[in-house]
Symmetry: C2
Subunit: 225 residues, 2 copies
């Protein structure tokens, strides 16, 4: 497999984690977003929406270029079921997907590079206004994530289960694949997480796993300071 | 089942479509977003992130409040498999999910009510600037959707298959549940779709189905002109 991605892209980071958790090796193909490499013709031929990541699953039963990080991770989970990244029961799956989508549909889309560039370019916002924008939506989203974790822990406590190690239960899931890159991105922007104890605990548990650590932007071949 | 939702919310509209496609009846509980009803304590107890929709699946095998529209639709598809809203094969599922996420992760999040309110409030943008913002991201996203449909049609043509009736194949999927509300929302903002023929064809095929028409905001009990 071949992963077209960028070290600092949160959605790329999600897929790197999932590939590592599944024990799947892949070729790392860097696409330099900050230099606009994704908008050049060579990459357009690979990614019609000019976004990263794209997973080329050549050599697998399917020959295809897959896009959208959550769709890619669900595909990996269906085609390589061990270890599972979603619970076996529909309700558990709905809860893990809702956690993942809290990040992927509420937080990340309003704070990615192209949005920040549009705020600074066509809208002419100052650096401080862009920082306020970023902090507002990331904090709003991560607080919602924390409340979800609180509700889930209360359900576990009611069934005499110990607290979750990760976002949902004792193994990392799709939710953690989305959470960790968002937390790491927030760290880069100086976000403080002191009022998000369950979220931070899940993040820290993940980062003790080699699959998450190896996927971190700092270990990517295209990493820059 | 009970659906907490708002007539004009695109994510609510998605779930109404899926419930109708599955032939599932539900109680419609309106939550007046424009009046801030979602931020009041009564609704906070139901939805920790104060978002619509929430599906209360009381009376089903699970007793739970489900949130995040795509997670809800996948849950409905797993617990009520007929008619399916995702293809049976992993590659087809990945493609339908990628289409859905093109809307749900790239377009909708940057154009929903709370974002437009923040642009007008704290950032003090003019009406015209907000309209430009809206049009820019919706057009960008729908063009990406159109390119995906072009690629999928080319694959079908290469296998001597006729063009898709809906976004993916001959039955409506999760992708259509996401597409149709976005198109309807764009119509309200005066968006022109003339350069999106495949997207518009899929939209029109959907709107000929009673399940989509009945879910339209204009038929909701809380609809306003």
């Amino acid at each position: 497999m071949r992963l077209y991605n960028y070290f600092r892209s949160g959605t790329s980071f999600r897929v790197r984690i999932a590939l590592n958790l599944k024990g799947l090796s892949y070729d790392y193909v860097p696409v330099h977003l900050a230099q606009g490499e994704h908008r050049q013709d060579a990459y357009r031929a690979i990614s019609p929406d000019t976004l990263v990541p794209v997973l080329d699953v050549q050599g697998q039963p399917d020959e295809a270029l897959l896009s959208q990080s959550m769709a890619i991770i669900e595909y990996l989970d269906e085609t390589h079921p061990t270890p599972p990244l979603l619970p076996a029961d529909p309700l558990g799956r709905a809860r893990v997907r809702a956690l993942a989508q809290t990040i992927a549909c509420e937080v990340h889309p309003v704070n990615n590079l192209r949005i920040l560039q549009y705020l600074g370019g066509p809208l002419g916002l100052t650096e401080a206004q862009r920082a306020d924008w970023y902090n507002h939506w990331v904090r709003e989203g991560l607080r919602a994530y924390e409340r979800r974790l609180q509700d889930l822990q209360a359900l576990r406590a009611a069934s005499d289960l110990p607290p979750s190690v990760y976002s949902y239960g004792d193994t990392p899931t799709l939710a953690d694949c989305c959470l960790v890159p968002q937390v790491v991105n927030g760290q880069r922007f100086g976000l403080v997480y002191e009022d998000l104890p369950l979220t931070l605990r899940a993040y820290e548990a993940c980062m003790r796993l080699d699959a998450f650590e190896r996927a971190h932007p700092r270990h990517c071949p295209d990493a820059q300071p």
